[in-house]
């Protein structure tokens, strides 16, 4: 059986873009980095890179048998 593994590549990249723009704007309007420097652009690219990285990471998988066993065990622990 083949499991569909959704990495949400586009959504995470978009989240990275939003984070990059948001952090870039916040740091420039507080004067931490200048509007006339490369930093606003670098922060933007770093945000996209972070989103790409998170998007490319594989989805964590767990064996059904061990998961069900763990479920059973935890059920036994309940009073």
């Amino acid at each position: 059986m083949k499991t569909k593994r959704t990495r949400h590549f586009v959504a995470n990249t978009l989240a990275g873009l939003f984070l990059g723009i948001g952090m870039s704007l916040m740091l420039t309007i507080y004067g931490v980095v200048g509007w006339s420097t490369a930093w606003p652009n670098i922060i933007l690219v770093l945000g996209i890179a972070l989103g790409l990285g998170v998007g490319l990471l594989p989805v964590r998988t767990m064996r059904r048998s061990s998961a069900s066993t763990a479920k059973k065990d935890s059920a036994n622990l309940r009073p």
Partner: protein, 204 residues
């Protein structure tokens, strides 16, 4: 394809850092000299700078407020009878350039003047908010050029810091919304990969 996309990130970084890594030179000018003073929006003296001079650098910028008056005086090496002037933000980052483009000031502010008396000394005062449509606080490298019809020219650059409260600009709210939206999206689409694992049968 995604592997190739990853190579684009360091390439883009090198491309961006190279041309925009501007060293913090002092305020400089060619063909003219002058000075400027600024007051806060309450009328309290804020800062002063001489061009060329030691101030007006990236680490020690000339401080102004959008609604505070800036008074300047200057002398040109040659009398400029009439011509044009231009003031623009140098090496503007993508976001600022986009803002300029949207507001219709992609090339900064400019105008024309006449000087029938052929005077070489100038002076005036202005309130920045009346001239600039986009008013985010922050640090800018501002360049100015005055070109006379006879060929005389005056140009220079200095670093300016707008010290208005960041919370008063809509950009502060926009950036906050974007950061919160990004964190929610990362939680829903990113962290859920680890917190909600996909169950597989043995032998798959």
């Amino acid at each position: 394809m995604t592997g190739r996309a990853l190579w684009l990130i360091p390439a883009a970084l090198v491309f961006l850092v190279g041309p925009l890594a501007v060293p913090g030179y002092a305020a400089n000018s060619v063909g003219c000299s002058g000075s400027a003073t600024s007051v806060s929006d309450q009328g309290v003296p804020l800062d002063k700078v001489s061009v060329p001079g030691a101030g007006g650098t990236q680490s020690l910028p000339f401080r102004i407020m959008w609604n505070g008056e800036v008074t300047w005086q200057g002398q040109t090496d040659q009398a400029i009878t009439s011509g044009t002037w231009r003031m623009s933000v140098q090496n503007a980052s993508w976001l600022f350039a986009l803002g300029e483009l949207v507001s219709g000031h992609a090339h900064g502010l400019s105008g024309a003047f006449t000087n029938e008396q052929s005077q070489a000394s100038w002076g005036n005062s202005f309130t920045p908010s009346t001239n600039e449509p986009v008013k985010p606080p922050g640090t800018y490298e501002v360049g100015f050029t005055v070109s006379g019809n006879g060929g005389a020219q005056c140009s220079g650059t200095l670093w300016v810091k707008v010290v208005d409260s960041p919370g008063r600009t809509p950009l502060w709210w926009l950036s906050l919304v974007l950061i919160v939206a990004a964190l929610i999206m990362f939680y829903v689409f990113g962290i859920s990969k680890w917190t909600r694992p996909i169950l597989t049968s043995i032998g798959e």
